[in-house]
């Protein structure tokens, strides 16, 4: 299957551009820079005025009334082709992008049963690309060369066997074939007009007169000679963007385009056989708000998964907390770190109740909690190695599984097994105390070394308080509660 994108330059522009009228109302030329600038693509208004791709820029400027000029960016186009090749990986494992020809080839022979026939598959490819804002020409044939030809000619036939392929290709004019000018001229001179005429001639004669390249081309067209196309190796990261048709003012309405992006991400990751644990969403705002940087939101999850149905509710709860500084016109979903898919199914609550969870895994619910309450709300305390109790614990908010923390230091053991900790509060000297131990830390510790005697006492309400006396000042402080 050959997927050709004849309007790629304009479509790439349209996806990046917020203002659609700019692209349609006035003549627009995409110009290839160079010694003699040429027109690479034109919009409909420019075509109506007579500008054609391939014209010299000077000629186009002569017939057009102040057209808008945009420089052709081959790199952006190659990137778009690579992105689309990644998307098309869901239909076939063998995808071959041809960026110069703005074309992507897919080996679909093995996918036809899975997708219910070639016609259905072609429609799905078309729908997928249309959903992304591209309008492809698709040709399906037994050989890549014939598929390319059918795509260029917008021929909807799906020739299934070699005889049908021959029939379909016979009326093709010879001008459509990728032949050298000399060969084309020579064929025209002996009165050949269509491919069918060529196929009827004796092969040795053709080879003798026009060289072996013509035979190679014919064999490739008919699938008699295989063409080796390297497989597309997708980049190891996820980067999908979407331009919205309408502005979105409320976060709730973002769910629909986001769902589309997540579906795409799922399809692409399924093609790559990779998974992911976190992703970043960028919300692009309208042009007049260029002062406002894109809103960037990152979402992390306890364990990897790609299903759009799992990610969407998380994003929804997360976006509920967000206020939009300006209307949103574009979305971009990125994930730099892709993981190997988990061995088991990627379902959210896969574990059956009654079995304790796996050691290394964090509860799946944490992602939902941190999406709604904020990342700061989920705290896991780990030892920091500082003996002073108020600094002994570090709060971690990330959802990565942590190694088991070190056991308490001897100094901490002496300080006792209180359960709750507070910032030290000065209190009047207590009456009866039960001493625990002394804590001293080094003079090198940021110049605020402490010497404390820890103790437990009981207050009037019957609470057991965790106290210490600062040996420098003699002042008593409350450190926490015993339980």
């Amino acid at each position: 299957m050959a997927v050709e994108l004849p309007h790629l330059a304009l479509e790439t522009l349209a996806r990046a551009e917020a203002d659609r009228s700019r692209l349609t109302e006035r003549p627009l030329l995409v110009v290839e820079a160079g010694a003699a600038p040429r027109v690479h693509a034109t919009n409909r208004a420019a075509r109506r005025a007579g500008a054609r791709p391939g014209m010299a820029l000077a000629d186009a400027l002569a017939i057009l009334d102040t057209p808008e000029l945009v420089e052709h960016d081959p790199q952006a186009q190659t990137a778009q082709i690579a992105m689309l090749a990644g998307v098309l990986l869901q239909f076939s494992d063998h995808v071959h992008p041809e960026p110069e020809a703005r074309r992507i080839l897919l080996e679909v022979g093995r996918s036809r049963r899975l997708f219910g026939g070639l016609a259905t598959l072609r429609e799905r490819v078309r729908e997928t690309l249309k959903g992304l804002g591209f309008h492809p020409r698709i040709g399906v044939a037994r050989s890549p060369a014939a598929a390319r030809l059918l795509a260029t000619l917008r021929n909807p036939a799906i020739p299934d066997d070699s005889e049908a392929l021959r029939r379909t290709l016979s009326p093709v004019p010879l001008e459509a074939l990728p032949l050298s000018a000399a060969t084309r001229e020579g064929l025209r001179a002996i009165g050949l007009r269509q491919l069918g005429d060529l196929l009827r001639l004796a092969r040795p004669e053709l080879a003798r007169r026009h060289g072996p390249e013509l035979l190679v081309l014919l064999d490739r067209l008919l699938g008699r000679r295989t063409e080796t196309l390297p497989r597309f190796d997708p980049p190891p990261e996820l980067d999908l963007s979407l331009r919205l048709e309408h502005e979105i003012h409320a976060t709730g309405a973002l769910a629909f385009p986001l769902k589309r992006l997540l579906r795409q991400a799922e399809a692409q990751l399924r093609g790559l056989n990779r998974s992911l644990q976190g992703m970043t969403l960028e919300l692009k705002h309208r042009e007049e708000h260029t002062r406002i940087t894109p809103t960037r939101i990152t979402l992390e999850r306890g364990h990897p998964g790609i299903r759009a149905e799992d990610w969407l509710p998380l994003w929804q709860t997360r976006l509920e907390r967000e206020a939009l500084p300006a209307p949103v016109i574009g979305l971009r979903l990125r994930a730099a770190r892709l993981l190997d898919p988990p061995a088991q199914g990627a379902s959210l609550l896969a574990e059956t109740p009654g079995h304790p969870p796996a050691d290394a895994q964090l509860p799946a619910v944490l992602a939902r909690l941190s999406a709604r309450l904020g990342e700061q709300a989920i705290v896991r305390l780990t030892a920091s190695g500082i003996p002073r109790p108020e600094a002994a614990q570090d709060a971690r908010h990330d959802l990565d599984a942590a190694a088991s923390p070190p056991p308490p230091t001897p100094a901490q053991m002496i300080c006792g097994t209180a359960l709750w900790l507070e910032d030290p509060q000065p209190i009047p000297p207590p009456l009866h105390t039960h001493g625990l131990g002394r804590l001293e830390d080094g003079w090198w510790d940021r110049g605020q070394d402490v010497r404390r005697d820890y103790a437990v006492t009981r207050d009037r309400q019957g609470r057991r308080l965790w106290l210490y006396r600062c040996l420098r000042s003699g002042q008593w402080f409350r450190q926490g509660y015993w339980g």
């Binding site: 109740p353 309450l373 896991r380 507070e422 309400q461 057991r464």
Partner: protein
């Protein structure tokens, strides 16, 4: 009357006044024989229990240490929702509670606390949930929490101020605690089993 006896033994029949907890219901051991007897084996899993009392820090957390330790030993997670102070985990570790299984969730409103509690209960990874509620809460949210607890394998404990006893609550059990010499006095306000009917006060020594 053999017919009625057979009927009364039927497991689907629930008898309001005398229903005792099922003998094989999953529990976390409470560590105190008297309390184990009163609760019907231990702190029940799959129930919402309110502990009413004040002030914070009298030993009402220490009361649950045996439960937390056995929960952590079996590899379940412990969720602390909106506690009034920071847990001092180097102190929890020597009591047998693995630090890496303790999760602290800070919320700003009681509504968020109850929502987070419900979400945690719906995750099978959690074995014990401790939540602190300072003010009055909507009964509808408590009922949601009760439903989530009933479907879970976790024991959900709600710490509430003593004045909450004036309002009815959908919790499975409600216990009121008061600090006493060397321990806590527990009084059952609502529950199933003999303890709720007997109106007895249990004295639990808390180390």
């Amino acid at each position: 009357m053999p017919g009625i006896d057979a009927l009364l033994d039927h497991p689907a029949l629930w008898r309001g006044r005398s229903a005792a907890p099922a003998a094989n219901a999953p529990v976390w051991p409470s560590g105190h024989p008297a309390l184990d007897r009163a609760l019907g084996g231990g702190w029940p899993r799959g129930q919402l229990i309110e502990l009413l009392g004040a002030p914070f820090g009298c030993g009402e957390t220490r009361l649950l240490v045996p439960m937390l330790a056995s929960c952590g030993r079996e590899g379940y997670w412990i969720a602390l929702l909106a506690p009034p102070a920071t847990p001092w985990l180097p102190g929890w570790q020597p009591l047998g509670i693995p630090q890496e299984r303790v999760l602290l969730i800070r919320t700003e409103h009681a509504r968020d606390t109850l929502w987070a509690g419900e979400q945690c209960l719906r995750d099978p990874a959690f074995g014990v949930l401790l939540a602190w509620l300072g003010g009055p809460v909507e009964t509808a949210l408590l009922r949601r929490l009760r439903l989530a607890a009933a479907e879970s394998q976790a024991c959900a404990i709600l710490y509430r101020p003593p004045r909450a006893a004036e309002q009815p609550s959908p919790a499975h059990q409600r216990l009121r605690w008061q600090p006493a010499t060397d321990g806590l006095e527990l009084h059952c306000l609502k529950g199933i089993g003999d303890w709720a009917r007997s109106d007895q006060t249990l004295h639990i020594p808390v180390p």
